[in-house]
């Protein structure tokens, strides 16, 4: 009974699948505010004096680490079942593991080979064929930038590759639109989230998923309890539920990687173990964010 207010950046299909289950199980009604993670954080900051939200659900964990004043540490029930490498912070609980991948529409490649690596994306032959969100505006696009910078020997080497990629990119404001463009044949390749790509694959679109050879980010996304949450108990129940095996099963069905060791990935995806990981360093990404975004903004003007 009662209610819980959830701020979230999660795609609509997760809300549609998970929230009714929670409501049914607990009798608690859920108010959802869906927006980009930056916007949500702006709200939380603005409301710090009189919090409206109880839970921040499914954002990049560093956002939470960066603003510890806004949140309260909570150890969710079932934390002991977390798969290896998922438990990264006391402040938040992982919800899913997000895998960055490429979505490719082979029919639109005009006979060019399917790119298999980050470096291939920098090849000038893919000029204006690759869809990406803007790293300054989209959280996942920023992770992709940081991933590339971490995937090579030095940050400098990473920037060199990324500069080549960026000059091939066609930028859009939202990450959700990236697989859409590729699926619709507007562009041939997209840098996106694995689960977003999977929805188009499962929907029957002319697309496939490709994992970059140098490795990619397997980054947990986070849930956290808002400090001073008006419905703290319901909030905890919400987080507990999202970590439960039952909920994680749904996560897997939706194409995201579950964070529990006892829940299998979606059979349509290759097993997580077979995905080459760069060992994504979220802390570094968060610490250097302002510098990297400004560098990115300047580079955009040069190469685009």
């Amino acid at each position: 009974d009662g209610s819980v207010t959830v701020y979230t950046a999660v795609p609509q299909n997760f809300i549609d699948a998970l929230v009714p289950m929670f409501e049914e199980q607990t009798g608690t009604s859920v108010d959802i505010i869906k927006a980009g993670s930056g916007e949500l954080l702006n709200r939380l900051t603005a409301e710090a004096d009189s919090p409206q939200a109880d839970v921040l659900w499914s954002v990049d964990g560093t956002v939470i680490d960066f603003n510890p004043d806004l949140f309260e540490a909570y150890e969710a029930a079932g934390s002991d079942m977390l798969a290896e490498g998922m438990d990264q912070s006391d402040m938040w609980t992982p919800f899913t593991a997000v895998v960055m991948a490429l979505i490719v529409n082979e029919g639109e490649l005009d006979g060019k080979p399917v790119p298999e690596s980050w470096e291939a994306l920098a090849d000038p032959m893919y000029d204006d064929m690759i869809s990406s969100a803007r790293a300054e505006a989209s959280g996942s696009a920023y992770i992709q930038l940081a991933t590339v910078l971490q995937a090579f020997d030095s940050e400098k080497a990473g920037w060199d590759v990324y500069e080549g990629m960026l000059s091939n990119f066609v930028l859009s404001d939202s990450s959700g639109a990236v697989p859409r463009f590729v699926n619709d044949g507007e562009l041939a390749v997209g840098v996106t989230l694995e689960d977003a790509a999977l929805r188009y694959v499962e929907g029957g679109g002319p697309v496939q998923i490709v994992y970059p050879a140098e490795g990619t980010a397997i980054a947990p996304d986070a849930m956290a309890l808002v400090k001073g949450a008006p419905n703290a108990d319901n909030a905890k129940a919400f987080i507990d539920f999202m970590l439960s095996a039952e909920a994680q099963q749904v996560v897997a069905e939706q194409g995201r990687r579950p964070v529990r060791s006892d829940v299998e990935s979606n059979p349509a995806l290759i097993p997580l173990a077979e995905v080459n990981s760069v060992g994504y360093d979220a802390q570094w990404a968060a610490d250097n964010r302002e510098r990297l975004v400004e560098a990115w903004q300047d580079m955009v003007l040069d190469v685009q």
Partner: protein, 553 residues
């Protein structure tokens, strides 16, 4: 004696003036001032700085955006004029079959839901768009819709109705004798048009053009979707606001203030130019429409109908798309109602909210329009002039600015305590109030003051005279103004996006989110629904307004 004078001042209208002044100060002036202040705040230290402006005018990233904004704004306006003026001239001077139909379509183009139209253009003219593919199969290859030229094309087709409707109204009111006199003095028809007609309707053209320009530079959806690498101030401001750094949105606000300043400068420039060129029109000696024959007739008909049909295309594509069969986000071929079914699962709340907020706002708009119009038209106090001026402000202030102002003003401090729903209602109220006031004011100006004086003379106290005589007479103006307020309130996106919260999502926001998620089917279905409501209102406006076309601009 002094007390008596005070009592005389504070009759019903004195009181109403006071209340309205307070409301406008709190809901309009204060939020804008707060935003203005915010643009002088250092995001890190919270102290005063000019640094935000310095950054905008020195960093290439922003300067480029500024240039781009001016470029697409001006070119889009130019395009709108090139389409709108000939169309207006043809429909005003020649017998065109389906004239009402042309106006109706033009108006529907104006009130179509925001944001989604640009996506429809991609479906038609994108790299894989059906028109692109069709032309390709004929061996014609055209540049894609992306980039500055695409934005300009969309602006042209989206905003030309403003120029069209304003110019048409003006052309219809040009005293016929002027054109006769020119002919009598030796002008051929084309000379007559260039030397007499065009200069006479220039004020209307420029007003339409200014509206285009102001809306074009504030437009966010079109450059966001079609711009790709091409950034304008509006997309920069949004990106800044959404950026994950949190903290104060000082850069977003600074960029928005600059957009506002550009609009204001454009408007002031236009007013200066027009100051010496206001020509009273004749309502008795009206021009007659000429019947064309032969190929001219065919060409004129074709160009008129084609223009509005092309402008209407994106809306048609959206409606069509909403009936496509989907599997998840993918269109799988064939038709189905899945998208509508999904509305009932995901968006019933958005639909209810949209109606509740808009209707509540419109009730406020109606009441205050009546009062404010009366004060502007009938009461010769300093307040009348001030209200009249203030009613222009909401046209110029982008929704983002107003909303950020609302958040900073009403989420904390003296004025906190409004629920989010109430804030949205107030936001819609203050942003759309000018529609009501403008329409009611023009209604009221046609009613001679002697009407109310007669009522007073017959024994009715001022308030009674207002209610029994004035209000019934301005009903058409009120209805039209309120419906315009409703149409624009229920389509409001940019401000809502910043304020909305738990349980207060609206249809446009839902559409926006669906588009961001690539859920085009859902977005199309919701847009169709919104279009239906809007269309119904337009129909009612048509039934009430005397000069229906000009009501919409």
């Amino acid at each position: 004696m002094a007390l008596a004078r005070l009592r005389r001042r504070l009759d019903f209208w004195g009181g109403a003036t006071l209340v309205i002044a307070v409301i406008l100060a709190v809901l309009l002036i204060l939020p804008i001032l707060r935003v203005l202040l915010l643009s002088f705040v250092d995001a890190d230290t919270g102290g005063f700085t000019l640094g935000n402006y310095v950054e905008v005018f020195t960093r290439n990233y922003y300067v480029n955006g500024l240039k781009n904004t001016l470029f697409v704004g001006l070119m889009g306006t130019l395009g709108a004029c090139l389409l709108g003026i000939p169309l207006a001239f043809f429909t005003a001077r020649f017998h065109i079959r389906g004239r009402a139909w042309i106006s109706t379509l033009a108006i529907l183009v104006l009130v179509a839901p925001p944001f989604i139209g640009a996506y429809a253009w991609i479906m038609m003219l994108g790299s894989n768009g059906f028109i692109t593919n069709f032309l390709e199969s004929l061996g014609i290859s055209i540049p894609t819709i992306y980039g500055a030229h695409g934005i300009i094309l969309v602006f042209t087709l989206k905003f030309f109705p403003f120029v069209f409707l304003m110019t048409q109204t003006a052309l219809n009111a040009v005293n016929k004798s002027f054109e006769d006199a020119a002919e009598n003095l030796g002008c051929t028809p084309w000379q007559r048009f260039r030397q007499i007609t065009l200069p006479l309707v220039f004020p209307a053209i420029s007003t339409g053009a200014i509206i285009c320009f102001v809306l074009a530079i504030a437009d966010f959806g079109t450059p966001a979707i079609l711009g790709r690498g091409f950034r304008t101030l509006s997309t920069i401001a949004f990106a800044a606001y959404r950026s994950e750094l949190g903290g104060l949105p000082t850069m977003a606000v600074t960029v928005s203030i600059i957009m506002m300043a550009i609009s204001m400068l454009a408007l002031l420039a236009q007013r200066r130019i027009l100051a010496r060129r206001r020509y009273a029109s004749s309502l008795t000696n009206l021009p007659v429409r000429q019947k064309l024959t032969g190929w001219r007739n065919v060409a004129v008909h074709l160009s008129c109908h084609a223009t509005v049909l092309i402008a209407m295309l994106p809306t048609l594509v959206v409606v069509y798309t909403s009936f496509l069969k989907t599997n998840g986000p993918v269109f799988v071929g064939g038709y189905g109602l899945e998208s509508y079914a999904r509305i009932w699962r995901t968006a019933p709340e958005a639909i209810t909210n949209s109606f509740v907020f808009s209707i509540a706002a419109v009730i406020l708009i109606t009441v205050f329009s009546a009062l404010i119009s009366y004060i502007i038209v009938r009461r010769e106090t300093a307040a009348s002039g001030a209200f009249d001026f203030l009613m222009m402000v909401p046209y110029l202030v982008p929704g983002v600015v107003m909303a950020i102002g609302f958040v900073t003003t009403f989420r904390s401090g003296v004025f906190s305590g409004f629920s989010v729903g109430a804030l949205l209602i107030l936001l819609y109220f203050i942003r759309r109030l000018p529609y009501g006031v403008r329409s009611t004011t023009s209604s009221l100006r046609q009613i001679k003051p002697s009407m109310e004086e007669a009522a007073v003379n017959l024994g009715a106290p001022p308030l009674m005279a207002f209610l029994k005589v004035t209000v019934p007479l301005i009903v058409p103006g009120l209805v039209v103004g309120s419906l315009m307020g409703f149409i624009t309130a229920i389509n409001e996106l940019s401000g809502t996006l910043i304020i909305y919260s738990s349980g207060t999502i609206t249809m446009p926001v839902q559409i926006y989110l669906a588009v961001l998620d690539g859920e085009f089917g859902l977005a199309a279905a919701l847009s169709t629904l919104l279009l239906l409501c809007t269309g119904a209102c337009v129909y009612v406006v048509f039934r009430f307004a005397d000069n229906r076309e000009s009501t919409f601009v």
